[in-house]
Assembly symmetry: D2
């Protein structure tokens, strides 16, 4: 069971200005997992009507953060220590969905993977692995 609700995470994201002006929402929290959505606007597109790389990276980071907070509770000082992204397919001009799964939650480090999809398309547009540093509690 996640220790927090999607709403609590969204509140924290807003407070920490990590929600991209309300464009990122948390759709679901599961067992060591989370699903986040980036509501794509014109400002997130690039020529060819594709979604920008920084938009994808921001969504992946937040989806991972949500999964982590669901597991350890509202620990605002956890920070990303590394992020690795493979761009797989050109995203459509649609919302992007990030499915995060925690691979390890240690005392000091958490590692997860995030798969990104154009809304409604089963083929991933990008795959991310991400490491968070967890402050001493």
């Amino acid at each position: 069971m996640p220790k927090v609700t999607p709403q609590q995470i969204e509140n924290l994201l807003r407070e920490y200005q990590l929600d991209h002006d309300g464009h990122i929402t948390i759709e679901a929290l599961g067992n060591k997992s989370a699903r986040a959505r980036f509501r794509v606007g014109k400002q997130h597109l690039r020529p060819g009507d594709t979604v920008s790389g920084p938009t994808l990276m921001a969504l992946a980071d937040v989806a991972m953060y949500a999964a982590l907070l669901g597991e350890i509770g509202l620990v605002p000082l956890a920070v990303t220590s590394s992020l690795n992204i493979n761009f797989l397919r050109k995203p459509a001009q649609k919302d992007v969905i990030g499915e995060a799964k925690l691979l390890k939650v240690g005392k000091r480090l958490a590692v997860g993977e995030i798969t990104l999809f154009s809304d409604g398309d089963p083929e991933p547009v990008a795959h991310v692995t991400c490491t968070y540093s967890i402050p001493p509690r």
Copy 2:
């Protein structure tokens, strides 16, 4: 349906000296996926009876290669262009299993992820993403 059999891949691995003297075997090929095993011997251990990092990386690379050959056929000149590994838990003194899944197979690049397990343990010991460069056909 994979285009080749595990046996054909093992033959190619042996010819190209990628099977670590017979310690790596291909257990299964699926739809854009493969499972490989590293039969761990004393020479692959480190103090604390854990499996060495290069052993894990070698297995991940071969598992990904097997999944790729299952998808595109026996293309011996495909080469690893990048590999990213996160070490998650100390492996036990057991065989290591690599489960590879292809995320993208393009004309020139293939990307996959490989999760590594100590035989019989559901928690992963490492997670790898890997890119292969595919020669023009």
Copy 3:
């Protein structure tokens, strides 16, 4: 000698909406290298007056792209295929400088590394490796 000028690259960045509304500028092009600046505004900060992760990633990507265009000329269709970032220190509330160096420019793939600094501080705030896929010419 770079094949293009910083001004030509900035024009292309603007056309392709990669200049973050004029916040990214190209300060120098060298032998397989480039220096880019992110003029940080309030919208790029996070609580604690630090620069956001997506801002750092965007700068790294553009610095690498500039170095690549300096080497191969104005090839607008080159696209990022992977990016790996390690966050090293909390950036100050200052402009961020990205120093890109190409490690390889092949026919199909280019690889580079980018070190990011808070303007005026010699200790890096982040380090990035980045791969570009180059279209057939």
Copy 4:
């Protein structure tokens, strides 16, 4: 000034079976840097007389470890937490040299980059970034 000598590091590598049966030696320690050599034998080659990927990864890991021990002293329990490698050029049938440089040494994490060369060739064969987890002291 490094806190230890190359000989002390080689002794520790041998004790922890990280020296690949004496094939890895530490040639120099500098300010947050180290140079290591892999004396390549037949068993490290692949068809085409190139050096195997796991050999390159093992050298990079040890070069980084040597640079770290030079900075923090003989801390045997530091462990690799992640490693990212880009293969750049086919290595020649020669020794491989690893030049490691620390990017950050924090209390809990160290990050470095390692550039690998075929002995005598100025163009790198691979580039690695690597993270070590440092135990509480």
